[in-house]
Symmetry: C3
Subunit: 313 residues, 3 copies
């Protein structure tokens, strides 16, 4: 058996030498990156503020809501300020600014963000209504807040969108990707989403950075509100690449609506798996023509190569 200690010494020096190549994945300066665990902790405290009584700390009574809330807000304020100060450094205008300048900017952002919370709650209350009205399987409003992934995703997206509008880099995306990881729903913090938004099931939904969604819109699993070819890559940055969905539109499972000039007119319904790259007039129902099916009777062998093409695993 070889001597693992010597091996480790050799391995360590190999990797240290490798760190000295200036790969874009070496960030060995102190405190140069936001702490994703801290951002996750901020999200869970924001959820306690937004949905009082639904998350675990269960010892308060109404008469001390004020002190409970003050503790939560101070915690969010302190940690968010710290993380935003780190993130702002990655903007050209702040990379070499004084600590006072950056942390001053950061605390302005934090207070502006916290002031938004009542408005965010107002929007989320309309989302919960939309979830309940839209889903026959919903037992009551509490079940939606306690267990629906779609509500979790839209909650985090609405919070991240406020930070995005306030010009915070990195952190809004870390927030929505955390929600993406928990729910399979990928909403970019740049997306603009109106009241009474309903997401059912949700896994596989993608909503791109420049998407604009009106009120009372319903979206089911596997829907993409996306861009067309991005061969342009970074050259397309900032350009409008994702569609506009007007009020009262329903988009069923697996449908794709693509392109920055595509507008789905109000009151329209987009059927399952529809693939849309140009605008649709208001009050239109769009669906793919009923697919032709091969139907073959008799004991299914599954080893008929001619038929095998349609199996996918």
């Amino acid at each position: 058996m070889n001597d693992i200690k010597d091996q480790i010494t050799a391995i360590v020096s190999d990797i240290l030498r490798d760190y000295e190549d200036d790969r874009n994945i070496n960030r060995v300066e102190n405190f140069s990156q936001p702490d994703t665990d801290s951002v996750k902790n901020i999200i869970s405290n924001l959820l306690k503020i937004i949905y009082p009584g639904f998350y675990r700390e269960k010892t308060y009574k109404y008469y001390n809501q004020s002190s409970r809330l003050t503790v939560l807000i101070e915690d969010v304020s302190y940690n968010l300020n710290k993380q935003i100060t780190i993130a702002l450094r990655q903007l050209p205008e702040y990379c070499s600014a004084s600590f006072e300048t950056v942390s001053g900017k950061s605390s302005l952002i934090v207070t502006d963000f916290l002031r938004c919370l009542p408005r965010v709650r107002e929007y989320l209350a309309t989302d919960v209504e939309a979830f309940f009205d839209g889903d026959p399987a919903a037992f009551n409003h509490n079940e939606i807040v306690l267990s629906y992934p779609g509500l979790y995703a839209i909650t985090v997206a609405r919070l991240a969108h406020e930070l995005f509008l306030l010009g915070v880099p990195l952190i809004p995306r870390i927030m929505t990707e955390h929600a993406h990881s928990k729910t399979g729903i990928d909403i970019h913090p740049g997306a603009t989403i109106g009241k009474y938004f309903f997401i059912d099931h949700g896994t596989g939904i993608v909503i791109g950075e420049t998407t604009v969604i009106g009120e009372r819109v319903k979206i089911y699993q596997g829907v993409t509100l996306g861009g067309l070819s991005t061969r342009g890559g970074q050259s397309l940055k900032g350009k409008r690449r994702h569609p506009t969905i007007e009020d009262n539109v329903t988009i069923y499972a697996g449908a794709s609506i693509l392109g920055g000039e595509t507008v789905i007119g109000e009151g329209s319904t987009i059927g399952s798996n529809a693939f849309i790259t140009s605008s649709i007039a208001p009050n239109t129902k769009v669906s793919i023509k009923n697919m032709e099916m091969n139907i073959k009777n008799g004991k299914s062998s599954g080893d008929d190569p001619a038929q095998n093409w349609f199996y996918m695993i």
Copy 2:
């Protein structure tokens, strides 16, 4: 730089005022909601009971299985009882009943549930067989129990289904949505699923509340067993909305089978991406007609706008 302390006081009182609006997302009474973290902990203890030796507590030997198991069962029994007592309060018949009545009902449910565990293990052992027989990539049975998301999802769904049948609100759905979050597989606790059930890959699978699935059924990633339009919303509650899948049916990736009157006859095979809204006779192979493809040779520019329609990102 502005004074963050004053800001916080102002923000706290804004949010407190907002709590006083009777939004449906305010639940400030004590202990009125089940604790999702406690439910997750119950799930992990149930997994230790169902798959002895696969989960971390590794210090027991066979001769003290009995004491080990007693500790686990007592823990599940105590915590599940507590959570069910909270959840039952949300049923009209228990919202104003005495504590004795509710906790009495709760402990009857808990013992009935725990008595089901051997039968649930019997079903799950058949699922592990089906996973191994169906997947050439499976190294052995242990790999399936240790790492396959499909087995995790069906395990939690079978446990949640027993609580669903015992009339417990909220908690079964919290359980299956926890599994959905970990696996991307969304099985409603109401769904009835026979022995030897095999799910491969699994991400994007949706199985609705009133689905009925027979024995030896195989389902691949992205399959929906769903409903048709739910414009009816809550008015459809309790109605049969999801399909029946008979024994020995295989449903390949991306297929959708929809509607409460749709029955897939035994021994049938449904091809990838098939879209089915009416019943299929037994021993039938269904597939979409081979899709016509546009094929264009020559260096791919990717900037040909006429071709761009088919790009989605």
Copy 3:
């Protein structure tokens, strides 16, 4: 109210009796299975080694990188050795070998694996480049390392693939299924993947065990690189079942490429939702013929049964 204590005693003995059936889900021997929590901990330490400065331990400075790294490498080395020793026992050739033989083999594997880390970092640095170049929404390289699920999935897959090549059972799959759970991206550790690999959004991607992918390949959400019918089940074990993707291929969302003899020639572009089961020549653009759509104007009732077929939820 019934006596829960007696009930528990009865339930415990029922389950103990059930453990005595030799179900394939009983593993009551000591230490016979790898510890998934330990494997997750190994992954998070490997991420700290690979992406220095991006993960939480933030107290080091450059001049003690060496001691920091030594601690991490020793921790990974010790725990990985322990887990591999357990896993190797499940290979026929080691199930009854002496402890020295097995742990000797294990430490040879561990040092070979750790020696790969600089090469893995070299590959991952090219992936980060590809992510940045390919995604107009990417703010900078740091955002990609901190938040992109696709990079997390390919990082874990590249590490697991090295252990797979070294003949370690169980653990590589536990690693990639952990990444699958976090990202919705299912990459089997057996898959061979070239440099500059780009995954966007990612949810629903499946890459099978025997897939071979060249350099500068881009893959979007919902893409399957899969097998055809596996009615053969375990009899297909080890056979080539998944496609070959040559250099500079782009595969857009929802496309499926299936079968062990299918080769996508270099420079080709596969459009959204394309379904491909035979080889494609180099520099070809493939897309599904523009789908015919039913378009119906006028206020959308949503209760027109004839139209209902296209709704899926």
